[in-house]
């Protein structure tokens, strides 16, 4: 097993023994390979067995591993996670799938009180290795109740690891790390990326470390900190700005909790400017934490205020196409915020 750095540019080849897969294929492959490697791993979720999941992330796994390792669950989100916590402390490595982030509120007790606190509350006696998979995110016409992005809720839960990949490479590598550790991991999959993003992944076994961000584009005029779908839009913005002579450094957080302060601060020290681009309403989103951390620990590096680029404080992406378009930041909006920050 080798640990490799992520591709510098999402989707770029990383070696000779690689194959090109979509983001969702990387997840399915990651699940299959991990289940082959470790028979303690089992999946449980709504419509995940013979049906293969509503997005087909578990396609073929029921046929491969059978009904004891790929279990169709009743519509019981609360049980799904809490039951998985029980299975974890009994020695298995469960992976409950929550069908949409919009339903995760029903499972919060299991995630926050039990998965995240099991180790702490038991003085380290009980550990809770599990991978809670949940798809999320807008830009798929999902409307108010099938577009949510609630990562920042869970960034407030020490004990939990929260990850969300932007590329097939990271999707697979982070998933493998999640299954091989002792912590509960909330693994967030962006559904807009499932089939729109393709990239090269090694054909051999590899992992991507938890808790480490990646500098996916180097630059010296401003640092953009982002993840998942917003990372791709940030990279588009960086490309546009390069033509104008603005060199943007782009960081993919990959792990949102506990997140990689050093990589962020090192970059901001170099560029003196920071823009956080994230997918959720603005107030108390991911940008609130990253912005505050930079202000607290990197104030002397800064030549401009930290800028947040996010959707407005609407409850979520609405259904009407015109309203939906007004929700998520696009590359143009991100580019404009960077320009202003650089010009400050």
């Amino acid at each position: 097993m080798r640990t490799m750095e992520t591709a510098k540019t999402p989707g770029a080849a990383v070696g000779t023994d690689v194959k090109t897969v979509t983001y969702i294929e990387a997840i399915t492959d990651g699940l299959r390979e991990e289940m082959e490697r470790d028979e303690r791993i089992f999946l449980i979720g709504e419509d995940i067995a013979a049906y293969g999941g509503v997005f087909k992330a578990t396609k073929g796994l029921y046929e491969r591993f059978g009904p004891m390792r790929v279990i169709d669950s009743p519509i019981s989100e609360n049980f799904l996670v809490q039951g998985a916590v029980g299975a974890a402390i009994a020695g298995l490595i469960p992976s409950p799938e929550l069908q949409f982030d919009d339903f995760i509120s029903l499972a919060v007790d299991g995630i926050v009180e039990h998965a995240a606190k099991m180790r702490y509350r038991s003085g380290g006696m009980f550990t809770c290795p599990m991978v809670i998979r949940c798809c999320y995110g807008g830009a798929v016409g999902g409307g108010l109740f099938h577009s949510q992005a609630n990562q920042s809720w869970f960034m407030h839960c020490p004990g939990l690891v929260v990850v969300t990949p932007a590329t097939p490479y990271d999707a697979k590598g982070l998933l493998k790390s999640a299954f091989r550790g002792q912590n509960p991991v909330l693994y967030y999959e962006h559904k807009r990326l499932y089939r729109t993003i393709k990239g090269a992944v090694p054909t051999h076994d590899y992992t991507v470390p938890l808790g480490k961000a990646a500098v996916v584009r180097e630059g010296r005029h401003a640092t953009v900190i982002s993840y998942a779908l917003m990372l791709h839009r940030s990279l588009e913005a960086a490309e546009k700005l390069a033509a104008e002579g603005i060199e943007v450094e782009v960081i993919d957080l990959r792990t949102l909790l506990p997140y990689d302060k050093e990589t962020i601060l090192r970059s901001v020290e170099k560029t003196a400017r920071a823009v956080v681009v994230y997918e959720s309403s603005k107030t108390m989103g991911v940008g609130a934490e990253i912005g505050a951390m930079i202000a607290e620990e990197g104030f002397s590096f800064l030549d401009a205020p930290v800028r947040r680029v996010s959707p407005p404080d609407a409850p979520q992406e609405p259904f009407a196409p015109v309203l939906a378009a007004a929700y998520l930041p696009d590359a143009a909006r991100i580019a404009q915020a960077i320009r202003e920050t650089v010009a400050y």
């Binding site: 609360n78 809490q82 299975a87 009994a90």
Partner: protein, 322 residues
């Protein structure tokens, strides 16, 4: 199944150990020797002693706040029970959790959180693992009648019913959920009727009869081990004191309390054993002395155990990220 003399004596020992420990803990709290609060279960001992006696180390129990007797009978050393209440460094939870949230991994006692009913759900998850692992271990899942109104409890019973998991759901119906009477929590006389909805048997028994609690639970445990699925056992009982030691419990009538005190499970079982000639007065005295000594040793252990140090606040948040 005939209950042996040894088993009867074992039940007698635990019943008294739990009663004496519980009363002693109340006094310790009142004396300010540990802080926070304390959830007494005096009056209810027969339910938990009867349902945990005879379980295997590998069987798990999911407990709430009122299961002192369950953890003692399942085999958590008394010194760790005390250290938990005192929130000391030698407590299995290292002083992190909450009063009466006992846990002890070697005996399958799952350290609970406070969200009511959740511990039964987590224990149900253990039973799912036992099924996947093809082990014949059993999960005994405790709740009060109040917790049976919580949605997740129903999700767990439903799942256990669908997959015929090796669960025994013990409901201690003590007629009160904090200050709310059972009639405002459950629209049934017998909570056990809830089992019908999930396709497995529900029984209601006298929870102050330790022998009955033991025999009924053991039957359900055997059924579960054979792969025949869950059982719900409602045990009717009563808590003598407040919800916790900071609750004067003035929402109840004195008559009600007196009625139940006359049904005290401890002397009741003692009379039975004396009548059957299983124990005599000198056995009783020897047992009580042994218990007294064990409790003193446990208190001594807890009081000598150091407090956790400030830097430990960040211990056990994460395992190494890897």
């Amino acid at each position: 199944m005939a209950v042996s003399t040894d088993e009867l004596k074992g039940l007698y020992y635990y019943l008294n150990l739990v009663r004496q420990t519980d009363e002693r803990c109340r006094r310790l709290f009142k004396q300010g020797r540990f802080h926070g609060t304390y959830f007494s279960a005096v009056g209810q001992e027969a339910t938990v002693v009867g349902s945990c006696y005879g379980l295997r180390a590998e069987d798990v129990i999911g407990i709430q706040h009122r299961e002192l007797g369950a953890v003692i009978t399942k085999g958590m050393p008394l010194k760790y029970v005390m250290a938990e209440l005192y929130a000391r460094k030698d407590s299995p939870d290292r002083g992190k959790s909450h009063p009466c949230h006992y846990g002890w991994k070697p005996m399958g006692i799952i350290t609970p959180a406070s969200t009511i009913a959740a511990q039964t759900v987590i224990a149900t998850g253990c039973a799912l693992a036992f099924k996947i692992q093809r082990k014949d271990h059993v999960a005994v899942c405790f709740v009060g009648e109040g917790a049976t109104s919580n949605g997740v409890w129903h999700e767990a019973l439903n799942f256990a019913g669908v997959h015929r998991l090796a669960c025994v759901f013990v409901v201690q119906n003590n007629l009160w959920a904090e200050s709310v009477p059972a009639r405002l929590g459950v629209p049934l006389d017998d909570v056990s009727e809830r089992a019908k909805a999930y396709g497995f048997p529900g029984l209601t028994i006298d929870g102050n009869d330790v022998l009955l609690a033991y025999e009924t639970t053991q039957e359900a445990v055997r059924r579960a081990r054979r792969g025949e699925g869950p059982t719900l056992i409602e045990m009717k009982t009563y808590r003598w004191y407040g919800h916790s030691e900071i609750d004067p419990a003035n929402y109840r009538t004195q008559e009600e309390v007196e009625y139940w005190k006359r049904r005290d499970p401890v002397p009741r079982f003692e009379r039975l054993l004396m009548e059957r000639g299983v124990i005599d007065e000198s056995y009783k005295q020897a047992t009580l002395q042994r218990i007294e000594r064990e409790i003193e040793e446990a208190i001594d252990f807890a009081e000598k155990s150091p407090h956790p140090e400030p830097h430990e606040i960040l211990e056990d948040v994460y395992a190494p990220l890897g």
